[in-house]
Symmetry: C2
Subunit: 611 residues, 2 copies
Amino acid sequence: MNHITLPSDFALTTGPFPGSRKHYLTTTSGLQVPFREVTLDPSAREEPVRLYDTSGPYSDPSARICIEEGLSRPRDAWVLARGDVEAYDGRPVQPQDNGNVGPAHAVPEFPLQRRPLRARDGKAVTQLAYARAGIITPEMEYVAVRENLGLAKARETLSRDGVPFEADIPDEITPEWVRAEVAAGRAIIPANINHGELEPMAIGRNFLVKINANIGNSAVTSGVAEEVEKMVWSIRWGADTVMDLSTGRNIHHIREWIMRNSPVPIGTVPLYQALEKVDGIAENLSWEVYRDTLIEQCEQGVDYFTIHAGLLLSHIPLTANRVTGIVSRGGSIMAKWCLAHHRENFLYTRFPEICEILRAYDVAVSLGDGLRPGSIADANDAAQFAELETLGELTKIAWQHDVQVMIEGPGHVPMHKIKANVALQQKLCGDAPFYTLGPLVTDIAPGYDHITSAIGASMIGWFGTAMLCYVTPKEHLGLPDREDVRQGVVTYKIAAHAADLAKGHPAARLRDDALSRARFSFRWHDQFNLSLDPEKALEFHDETLPKDAHKEAHFCSMCGPKFCSMKISHEVRDHAGRERQEGMAEMADKFRQQGGDLYVTIPDPFTATQG
Amino acid sequence: MNHITLPSDFALTTGPFPGSRKHYLTTTSGLQVPFREVTLDPSAREEPVRLYDTSGPYSDPSARICIEEGLSRPRDAWVLARGDVEAYDGRPVQPQDNGNVGPAHAVPEFPLQRRPLRARDGKAVTQLAYARAGIITPEMEYVAVRENLGLAKARETLSRDGVPFEADIPDEITPEWVRAEVAAGRAIIPANINHGELEPMAIGRNFLVKINANIGNSAVTSGVAEEVEKMVWSIRWGADTVMDLSTGRNIHHIREWIMRNSPVPIGTVPLYQALEKVDGIAENLSWEVYRDTLIEQCEQGVDYFTIHAGLLLSHIPLTANRVTGIVSRGGSIMAKWCLAHHRENFLYTRFPEICEILRAYDVAVSLGDGLRPGSIADANDAAQFAELETLGELTKIAWQHDVQVMIEGPGHVPMHKIKANVALQQKLCGDAPFYTLGPLVTDIAPGYDHITSAIGASMIGWFGTAMLCYVTPKEHLGLPDREDVRQGVVTYKIAAHAADLAKGHPAARLRDDALSRARFSFRWHDQFNLSLDPEKALEFHDETLPKDAHKEAHFCSMCGPKFCSMKISHEVRDHAGRERQEGMAEMADKFRQQGGDLYVTIPDPFTATQG
């Protein structure tokens, strides 16, 4: 057995966020569901703020982290307890699985091998099949507790507020409700039976909006430790799922290291690896090579596959007059194959067979949008919507096979054309979850496309998109580094959270309110610790006011003590409080009498669009 | 006379953007209107792309830049030609105008003195007064040419696209149309008659969406050169106006240096300086001190004043139960004054007198939102909307005095409550231009509030807001540095442009399309040069592919040559082209017959809200 040699200075990023501790809730059936709790300054007299936690055991100081052992696999017991799977001798690893890498550049195999599981006797072992059969799985129970975060507290303190469009978020998430959402196809729980390390999560418009971060090795051989760290780093900042878009050498082995160390669902585009196996020549792709790749990745535990099955031969001419043609890698590869053979996309013609494979491992399908617009000019065009109609057709086929499915969406779309994408997707795809890249609302800001896309992502999330694929500042320009990934993930947490607020998710505002109270009370550390990026907030604060005493300061560094509106506002509040006792009350009453018509409720124009 | 000593290593940022040159259009009456033209690679066979240019003479290599002389003053001739102003001996500079700064910390006076102008015989010398009288001023003509940017080209190549809500953008901007918009109060041209260096611009919902950048000295004495450079730096990246929010020492002198070197309108909050004159004690503010400060700044040429006249004594109790009280500096200062004296805000009671002063210099008033919400919890509350109603009342008074007026808006607002702000502002303030800070769509991302606010700014700009006040990454945390200002301005250019696109501004998409064509043709330099931040785009590209040869590369650095979707897409297009000639045409026809119903127009739900 190869022994892995990690760089001597290498360490995965571990440990809690400042002011935070890991907290586990135990479900009725004994599952341990992780949260992050932010403890506030005693002067706040507030309970700790409980946050959804994607970071896995890495942020738990009591967890044993050993990259060569992988994470523990509590889910194996859940899967085996269902009695419908069998272990078998998996497909042997082939040289071409790793890009025929020579010994000089080969990375070591993951040290522990395990026989893969698959469904016995053609059974459907998917969360969808169980949900339809009325079975509440541990995965559903886990998701219910996880999503229920703060809802009880919200019920006590907040009234419902928001414009949810078609979303219908309950006051309490029960396991039965999760089951019903999965059964209806409105939500998926990507959870390959071979991913025992998984902390299950749900993607659906009635759940918290999720985000995905893409990682991948570069052309230069990356070490396995760096690749695992990319995943750990992404989930630390809040990525709910991670797509491994690696190409080139060592692709199989690196994926195995990632899978065995990942508590979040891992998605891939199997076409990329299949193309590597035929030396990058699209014309040489075949169903056999693709099928073999699917099984290889199913056995490893990949949780969802992007499959570009909706791009048809007949759609290709529709792209001929586009400003930016086909910008999806998978889409362009399949278009080339279709034209070269003048045959229909084999991912389309073989889609029922693909579903048969996926249902044996519970891999969810993410129907790729190979014809998504790559520019404002191409948004919402005939090519894009023709493919979307085909994705609707494929959604039904996936459901017929008990396969969980979500739908990928654009791309580049100006603000006024975003809502139409959601409406059409919901109509054509029967409410299957929508998973979009951005969209970018303008083309003119390379270097800032995390921002152009977060604008679109916030809006499309509000309108009902279930998961947002992040974009980094390097989009269109280069490979993201560590800081770019952090920027991209945090920016997308903003978009997802802004969408939750606007949809009226009952618990979303608890964090905003806690942070704003901390801000108004000059509890600087609480403000930092409650923010999406506590380290950045502290760092920025210290650039202007570096001393520790300034963390206690009752003013902002922007204005200094004399001009601090918050400080003056406190004086005003104190003063108003005294005045009120001494006669200000009459004044205020008088104002309220005069100004009763100030309290008019403004009809929100968006609400009118729901009917 | 003091002689200024600039740091030996100091230089203002000058010179053109990469690939760009300054281009002046001459109007029928001989005015020179500046643009930036981006020349494309000859292989593109495209005309240079003409861009709106806020950067002033600093980006013109042929302009003489001497900070001690200031910019040339072409506007003086326009103002004098109207024959309704007189030069007079201005108010002498007082020690307290500069915070009683001692000789050790004093900055030099601007070397050139000039007698200020004011209206003769109580005449109204405002653009609004002229517009109402049917007079088309040079300022209006200048604005018409400037805004007309690309419209003719757009008419030739693009069909109208967008959801404009209440906006009504013509196919061609004529001077008469500008006059009519100003006369109706729907647009303002901030243009103090003492600001001869100004390149006039308009703020109104039927014009391009504008952005403002805030600058200001810090508590530590800043040198004048650094302060002028902050302004030059802001407008280089695209700020349409600059607000000087300086407090403390040297405030008068620094403002003079900025005014004399600024081609964009400068706004201030006179209350800040007035408060300095009474040693920072809000209770000691008086009408006399405030009035004196107004005249001081009118004479210097400040183009618009933020005045917190809408915060009434009776509104203050409405803030008592807010999560974040009063977060506007001006608002909190006036609230404190009101409570201390138990009297109505003197900015409100004296507002007609304020307008009398402003009309003599044509200073526009920006009605401050002293009660804007500082948190999601406080958005759209009674305090905010009570003040907005008062702002509507004050708008009418300003208009009665021929004073140009715009209205400031929030703040922190979740997405679903943004539209209501625009609707109510338009209703209460008779379509006076709206000028908003963000809004931030969540409170939980200090360190990233340029992004949280750009999401809200894009949307509110689309809905009809005329100008967006930028937010930097340091918001809530510290003082922005040079890089923060660049990030803030570029982020807000994204928001403004995204809004223009969504409103369907006829010419907005020309830049997107040119950049996307460059991207699809692998014209890397054209792509960089057309972007909002060419230097950042180049820098990011070079991090991954540093060689010059890679600027010619027909692939993206993200995927490498084998996986480049753009490259494959070109092959697909070539292939499809050949196939079409050889029989693919029938196929495509057949598809179109089958799929005719794919081309359905999706009714945009937003459109339905216009009725």
